[in-house]
Symmetry: C2
Subunit: 117 residues, 2 copies
DNA sequence: CCGTATCCCGGAGGATACTG
DNA sequence: CAGTATCCTCCGGGATACGG
């Protein structure tokens, strides 16, 4: 663990504070983004599936976040021309590469049940 | 990597979506919180040091975030009764335990220089 | 130096109604 | 079903001025 801290020190000394960290924060931004990625880590999902898996964010908000993630190359959007329409969101390789962060967050959250109070 | 994904699946199936993840998000909330933790991972720092290390958030905002983290047990606040006053913030053990997440974010950000565009 | 006290604004995100 | 179009609310966070 001390290794990690010193690596953090070493890697970020003399550069704009947390350059790498800030870039990640720019991607995992907003109230829902991280949770969307989390849902898609377990496989591709439809718009409605994501919406109900989370605590039903408004359609507008969910659309906004999904579009942002799409433009950032985190996920892909596939429209199936059916009736009724079906739209599937799937993580790109870059999106999947966020799993280490999500996993760390999951573990921390579980090990600190009283946090956030 | 596939191990991580399936562990995520396994650990969170049938429970409120991303329970652990959500708890972490509640702690690392807001525009500055994560960066504050990052600064303190390299050692205790004074109010002014934190402020100038980041891109000078307003005093009000920084105070708000520091107080929140203090109440959540992430850091401690020590006032030295000197003139001029000196106030030092230091991560608790719980605060230090966030280093794994920060480290993952740093690495990801560095490996994806074009992200967040 | 390290705040607190006010005031204020932008924009994320919700509510509602409507469409292909 | 999966959006789009509007309108509106809320509050995180900045600016400024002042206090211990």
């Amino acid at each position: 663990m001390e290794t990690i801290v010193s690596e953090l020190l070493e890697r970020s000394a003399g550069r704009p504070a947390g350059c790498g960290v800030e870039r990640t924060l720019k991607v995992l931004d907003g109230k829902w983004t991280t949770l969307i990625v989390r849902e898609l880590l377990t496989g591709p999902k439809r718009f409605g599936e994501i919406r109900s898996a989370l605590s039903s964010p408004s359609a507008k908000t969910l659309t906004d976040r999904l579009r942002a993630l799409e433009h950032q190359g985190i996920l892909t959007r596939t429209v199936y021309a059916e009736v009724p329409p079906r739209v599937v969101y799937e993580l790109t390789e870059q999106g999947h590469s966020l799993s280490g962060i999500l996993h760390a967050m999951l573990v921390w959250g579980e090990q600190h049940p009283d946090a956030g109070g």
